[in-house]
Amino acid sequence: MLKILKYSFKDIFRSKWLLIYFGFFFVSTWFLLYFTNDPSKGLVSLLNIILMLIPLMAIVFSTIYFYNAREFTELLLAQPIRRHAIFTGQYLGLSLSMAGSFFLGSGIPFLFFGVQNSDSSGSLINMLLMGVLLSFVFSALAFAISIYNENRIKGFGLAILVWLVMAIVYDGIFIYLMVRFSDYPLEKPAIALSLLNPIDLARINILLQLDISALMGYTGAIFNKFFGTAMGMAVSVIAMLFWTLIPLFLYLRKAGRKDF
């Protein structure tokens, strides 16, 4: 598996889009910090970029990568190597490079603006970790969707749809349900609903850590009330790990018996 990982890395690191991805985070973080001139304000401004763009980019790049690697995967499958080693290696190669690009792209400007001397360094590390986790979650979702869909147009459409639902439509449904059933106790259903959306989980985690109640929204507030800050953050991280492991499990299970 490590061999596959090594060569996936080599291939991905030389491609332009990864550099562009890194550059985008570097430049936008730099500008945010330049204009706010305060690492803690910069962090809040970065929040939405992380929550919207990382899932979108991770799901799009991973889907494209998976379908483009098809013939290469076939060559690897004809070699004396376990199937799971190939597929785990490819997943890790892509998700680690995307997560790493974001981590460095957004992290380095903060160092230039002196985050290490401010009290925001913990928040920064937490936010970067959430971005890394989101990369893992959405890469895993993309790989799972792609392996179940032979037709790349359908796979790509489905991947975008998943992003659209989790990043945008979900909030609407959530609010509708809250209003529609406002006569009932909604705390537990609301918590259950947020566990179903990794983007919401990341948002709650970051806002709990930043302790900005004004931005927490309904679910954030409930999380805070129900679990408390530390426990709430732990719950969201564990739920996000499940969001990585379950699609990854489905992907590897399918990969083990799929015809190529």
Binding site: K3, D11, R14, S15, L75, Q79, P80, R83, D259
Partner: protein, 239 residues
């Protein structure tokens, strides 16, 4: 060398292999041919473990290949022109395969023999189809495998490389290896085949030497003999 027993494979509702039995012997060039969608690719992919048959058994050198992956170290496979990670170089690709397979590959001699030296450090995306095909040939031949599978190997190759590859296939056969070849080029089949396995609709329709096929159809060229078989089959279906 390769024993195939009663394998069935369905893709959705389409039955591609319908109880196929075949023995591929050592020291022979076994050409697998047949019309489009006759199951050639599925058969080769089943031997390689890329496709898992619904029923039946495949043994490679006496070893059942089901849920087995080590047996593939005995197979050298040259796929059709393929697109590999575009940012890697041929050298890195060759290194990767030797990383996976270990052992002592004989890469240098093959690289020189195919004239690939000048392309080793160029990214794969800048290489022509023919050069990529040479890289594929290197990957298939760099280990001394007892079983060699070539899927349309000469497509895209220049005449010199094509001749070299054909000579090499003969040499490997003379060393006692089992060569499995698919191609649509009739002249190549005539030149190379010791045995023709003619697939039609998922079963083996004919398994003969080229000479016997020509003889049975009363034709001087293999191409005409095959065309005659296909036509008689068609009228058989129509009737």
């Amino acid at each position: 060398m390769v024993e195939i027993r009663n394998i069935f494979k369905k893709f959705g509702s389409v039955e591609v292999l319908k109880g196929l039995n075949l023995d591929l012997r050592a020291g022979q060039v076994n050409v697998i041919m047949g019309p489009n969608a006759s199951g050639k690719t599925t058969l080769i992919k089943s031997i390689l473990g890329l496709v898992v048959p619904d029923k039946g058994e495949i043994k490679v050198m006496g070893e059942n290949i089901h849920k087995n992956w080590l047996y593939r170290s005995r197979i050298g496979y040259m796929p059709q022109i393929a697109h590999y990670p575009e940012n890697l170089t041929p050298l890195e690709l060759i290194r990767m395969i030797s990383d996976i397979r270990k052992g002592n590959p004989d890469t240098q001699a093959i690289i020189e023999w195919l004239g690939l030296q000048d392309f080793l450090d160029k990214k794969l995306r800048y290489l022509s189809g023919g050069t990529r095909q040479k890289v594929n040939a290197t990957l298939a031949l760099m280990y001394d495998c007892p079983i060699l599978i070539f899927d349309e190997p000469t497509v895209g190759l220049d005449p010199v490389a094509r001749l070299k590859l054909k000579d090499r296939i003969r040499e490997e056969r003379d060393k006692g290896k089992t060569v499995i070849l698919t191609t649509h080029v009739m002249s190549e089949i005539e030149e190379l085949a010791d045995r023709i396995i003619f697939l039609m609709e998922g079963i083996i329709y004919l398994e003969e030497t080229p000479g016997k096929i020509k003889e049975s159809q009363g034709e001087a060229s293999l191409e005409r003999a095959i065309a005659r078989i296909l036509e008689s089959q068609k009228t058989g279906i129509d009737a």
